[in-house]
Subunit: 239 residues, 2 copies
């Protein structure tokens, strides 16, 4: 199997959740059936929210490209990054290495395309909206994003999850999701890996897709070399 | 903080459990408060059980020493390995690198020494007993290990956990622990990281220590540089 390098730590619990998803996606009889990963659990990547929303603090880009190169040198045959907002730096990461980058945004849009829904309700960080991380992929599939009315509240929830204070937040996430349905969303996308930690019990009248699940499936597919994954091909990345 | 390299994948779920323990040991307000880790989640390390008990299959040692060197080159400032049996190869791992190895066996024995117990009931793989992984550390603290009567049954449980079939095993682990108390154990040691996945709800009349918890505490201490960890010092390792 081909080891996949994980640009992790954004946040660290989401990285652990991804590893758990990868584990659960394999029907293993022994350790050796599982997918090999090289995980840089780096919670010291500069805050994407500070840099992109507040315009202050250190730029995460050089840290992410250095992590990418280091994972490639360590033997990773592809890279993946369990943080939607950090995909703002996806082009720089791809340019830094010669191995494929399993782009969670593209993989997720591909998965959504199978559902036939048009209006996608976004449970995402305001930084994801402001930086247009999903814009290109959504446009190419004809999706319209639907954003929550009170995104400051959603950002507060993300901050609370990062500080480990999750009590009562599952209920609040459900309220935000129902708000999106009221606003016309036909499909809910969990597009923040912190929110992925709370979204397991969402019960809604519309389908729910989690970008972290889509990424896990792609990692397993790549590792096993069975060609079900989609990823940016380094040979064509300068198109 | 100083990143700690994890020789992981033995099994992969135990490595995830260690990462979770490290996360929970930190009172974080944001991502950046958490401990950085470089994790080689390598489920393809040759089976320790096959090599040590059955005398067949590939030797895990060269794989483990290569992983150690690679984690050192990747920037790890210390190494740790969440697999008790694999500590059979601890000397080779230490010899392969110039950074400290946070030896889970020594750290665990140190922790047990604070309890004042003498007879330690071992919930461990037969491979751990046969290779005498705990012998030196136990001798230096004056501990006597107590082993279960039916170790084939314990090995079956470990194999079932590795294949994801954990239904009913918590109860069976409790029976094994009570057997150890009947045989004179004053303190139960969970000394197999697969069994650590099931030991959270053990209710016994004697205290329970889990080597994986001891290692997580040591990793956090080392990363924060607060000197509470014990580890083998590379400068003195040839004594």
């Amino acid at each position: 199997m081909r080891p996949v390098g994980i640009l992790g730590g954004m946040g660290p619990e989401a990285t652990i959740q991804l590893m758990r998803n990868v584990l659960q996606a394999v029907d293993a009889r022994d350790d050796s059936d599982h997918v090999p990963l090289l995980v840089h659990q780096n919670p010291q990547v500069p805050s994407r929210i500070k840099s992109l929303i507040e315009g202050r603090g250190e730029n995460p880009k050089p840290v992410l490209t250095a992590m990418a190169r280091h994972l490639e040198r360590a033997g990773a045959k592809a890279l993946a990054m369990p943080c939607n907002t950090a995909h703002h730096y996806a082009n720089a990461i791809e340019a830094a290495v010669d191995i494929p980058f399993l782009n969670m945004i593209d993989i997720t849009a591909q998965s959504l395309a199978m559902s036939g829904s048009g209006n996608i309700g976004m449970l995402a960080s305001p930084a994801t909206r402001m930086t247009g991380v999903f814009d290109r992929a959504f446009k190419s599939h004809g999706f319209s994003p639907v954003w929550v009315e009170d995104e400051a509240r959603l950002l507060d929830m993300i901050r609370l999850i990062k500080s480990g204070k999750t009590a009562g937040l599952e209920k609040k996430l459900g309220e935000q999701a129902r708000n999106l349905v009221e606003l016309g969303a036909e499909h809910i996308l969990v597009a923040c890996t912190e929110l992925s930690l709370l979204s397991g019990n969402l019960t809604l009248q519309v389908p729910v897709t989690d970008s972290l699940d889509c990424l896990a499936e792609s990692i397993v597919g790549f590792a096993k070399g069975n060609g079900i994954s989609i990823w940016s091909d380094p040979k064509t990345k300068s198109r």
